[in-house]
Amino acid sequence: MISTESIKHIARLSRLSFSEAEIEQFTEQLGAILNYVDQLAELDTTGVKPASHALPAINVFRDDTVLHSLSQAQIFMNAPETEEAYFKVPQIMGDK
């Protein structure tokens, strides 16, 4: 089972905010899902290598040559707020 305190902690880590009613609903729903996934504990996986990919994954490199890249205008075309060649965001540190 998962507590509402844990749900609030996970919400902070996820950068999500919820109303008290939503926290309650998520606690119940995630509890049921975790209860279901807990069946994995039945399976002995001692010494089994974890698979991050289904097919053998190897590092892929290419030559260090300049290829086509997006223009500045294209990069900023979806930005909510910009100033000169920067993405603009609200205050990061300290008081107003």
């Binding site: 950068r15 899902i33 996934v37 069946q39 996986t45 974890p50 289904a54």
Partner: protein, 473 residues
Amino acid sequence: MFYTPASTWSQMLKMGEIQPSDIIHIYQKRSEVVEKQIKGFLNYFETPVRLNSGQSDFQDIPIVFKDNICLAGYPTTCGSRILAEFVPPYQATVSQKVLNAGLPILGKANMDEFAMGSSNENSAFHPSLNPWDLERVPGGSSGGSAALVAAGSTPWALGSDTGGSIRQPAAFCGVVGMKPTYGRVSRFGLVAYASSLDQIGPLTLTVRDNAQLLNVIAGHDSADSTSLKLPAEDFGRDLGKDIRGLKIGVPREMLAEGVDPEVRTAIEKALGVFESQGAIIAETSLPRLKYALAAYYLIATSEASSNLARFDGVRYGHRSARASNLVEMYTQSRSEGFGDEVKRRIMLGTYSLSSGYYDAYYKKAQQVRTLLIQDFQAQFETFDFLISPTSPITAFRLGEKQQDPLSMYLTDILTVPVNLVGIPALSLPCGFDSQNLPIGLQIMAKPLAEAAIYQLAQAYESATDWHMRHPEL
């Protein structure tokens, strides 16, 4: 006319029996009639998007894309409010390939938000409806793509499949859907859900069309580091070949409890068709299969929580107007932009990756994934194919599973193992239940065996007429 397979259109065009503009017109007229009923599009282009210099055997035959595939200069919403205004400045590799082949794109199809869902009800905009019964879901997450093919609004469509998102809607809507081998089709420009599981694939009216569309979109791409470096091949090369002597395994766990009796009967009858054509059928067992769904939901949500961290309101996507500092802006933008199911999966993934739970959840799931890969490899030493239902049930009613996420997840139980193992699998129409809802048959094979899957599927299709039946709209 609107149920003419793309391969037939291609021949008719070559013979001069029809003009390109007539084909487009047929589908535009069809959408005028049926779109208000099925609501398959998120973005319908009055003038189809195309590259005039594009050329291939399938030029001038229209197509539809799921709305998580970037088409440069046109909104790509991924079914989410957070991307409602997003216009990609770059082309997905599959988009470029389809445009180069001269196919006109009719529009972008509806989907569950970020491809998370099995019903299309998680679209932030509206649900699409099943053409066979407008009170039922078309499946998901590529439900818009499947519904549009089944309704005759397009001869074929592209979807994406992370845990069954092509195959399950194909089954619910009575069309052919393929999840190719992981790495077959470039994921560059596909909005990421779970990167080790996602693959783009075709939804079509016939098996032949499916192989042809895979020919158009497959191939190595240096922009996707998980793309397989293989020579080009014709996926339709074995169509029409005898299936005598091919070995089909039927895992008993995939026909067990939870599978609707009418679905089971349809699969058993289909096995009889393969047998009558000389295939060898044997029961087999995958005892650890029951752990696949749990492993899938941990791995997929963990990858999603990481992939969706990029939606922070800084560079693109929704930004909340209510924030006074940076962390508030991240939190408010995400909370306003994402729907409930996406939030649920980000939360579950964050939990399973978090300190103290990583070993018990994420790592454990990855170890189970290794065991499942081994189990399937062992099966393919004996069998050429494994067969199961695509979904344990037929299309359910709108709203039926919305309040209970776990019951929705359980409908994916037969499709998710394929993504964990990375193998190709196809869903094929194999009958109807007593409510006249389509039933799908899933054919799985070892990695890179798409051509063999198409061979087997077409042998069945040529002996049956399920693919000739269409909904009354």
